[in-house]
């Protein structure tokens, strides 16, 4: 199982990251998820992402280990940015490779649900009108999305 996990300030090139996974011909399904900074109808200029850096990569690693325990994965990639991220820019990239599509899809969704609720990152909105931004509130939806994985198999 190849895994690439990284937290970084600079922008990433999704195609280059995925090429680095060196998917081999046992893989039949590759799913990628890119989370992008929405401009919220033109009102948002950027998101500033604060991290607990020493914990972030370790926690991402624990989430990935749990995904590997649940599904037979050939490769997993998680790249998460920190710092100022302008509207339209990518924040996070997740990729999962497996023999079959269901496993790859489920693992990618699981990773995103768990990263949202467990990885130590916090977003602050910077508005286009220059007014002081607020910290983005956690969504009950995200807690619910993460919780749905608990009924099927033991959680972290």
């Amino acid at each position: 199982m190849k895994r690439i996990l990284r937290v970084q300030e600079k922008a990433f090139d999704a195609a280059a990251e995925i090429a680095a996974l060196e998917i081999d011909s046992a893989t039949g399904a590759l799913v990628t998820f890119t989370g992008l900074c929405r401009d919220e109808g033109g009102t948002l200029a950027a998101l500033e992402i604060e991290a607990y850096p020493e914990m972030a990569e370790a926690e991402i690693g624990r989430v990935v280990t749990e995904a590997e325990r649940r599904w037979p994965l050939d490769a997993v990639l998680v790249v998460h940015r920190t710092g100022m991220i302008g509207a339209g820019e990518a924040i996070v990239l997740v990729a999962t490779a497996s023999a079959h599509r269901d496993e790859a899809f489920h693992a990618a969704e699981f990773l995103m649900d768990y990263l949202k609720t467990r990885a130590p990152f916090w977003k602050k909105a910077h508005r286009r009108d220059g007014s002081a931004g607020d910290w983005v509130a956690a969504k009950d939806d995200d807690e619910a999305a993460a919780a749905r994985w608990i009924s099927s198999k033991p959680a972290l």
């Binding site: 607990y52 924040i91 467990r118 990152f121 910290w135 807690e143």
Partner: protein, 83 residues
């Protein structure tokens, strides 16, 4: 032990980290939050609503009932909003 604060917990306290020395009666994360609440106005504001505070001990998520024991680092922060 070292305490670290993130996002609006950090902003309300006005510190990213500090050394803390809670009394021996502070045994769990919940005890530590209650102790922080009485350290001043800024701490009271940061820890006003304990239900919205998440904590990590030595860089792993923990629940309010978790004993602090011999942890070297505790962190307090709001619910996470990454991804």
């Amino acid at each position: 032990m070292k305490a670290r604060y993130f996002a609006w917990v950090r902003e309300r306290i006005g510190l990213a980290e500090e050394e803390i020395a809670p009394p021996a009666s502070v045994k769990t994360i919940a005890d530590l939050i209650a102790w922080q609440q009485q350290r001043g106005e800024n701490y009271a504001a940061a820890f006003a609503n304990a239900a919205t505070i998440r904590a990590a001990l030595d860089r792993q998520h923990v629940k309010p009932g978790t004993p602090i024991a011999a942890a070297a680092e505790v962190a307090f922060f709001p619910p996470m909003t990454g991804g």
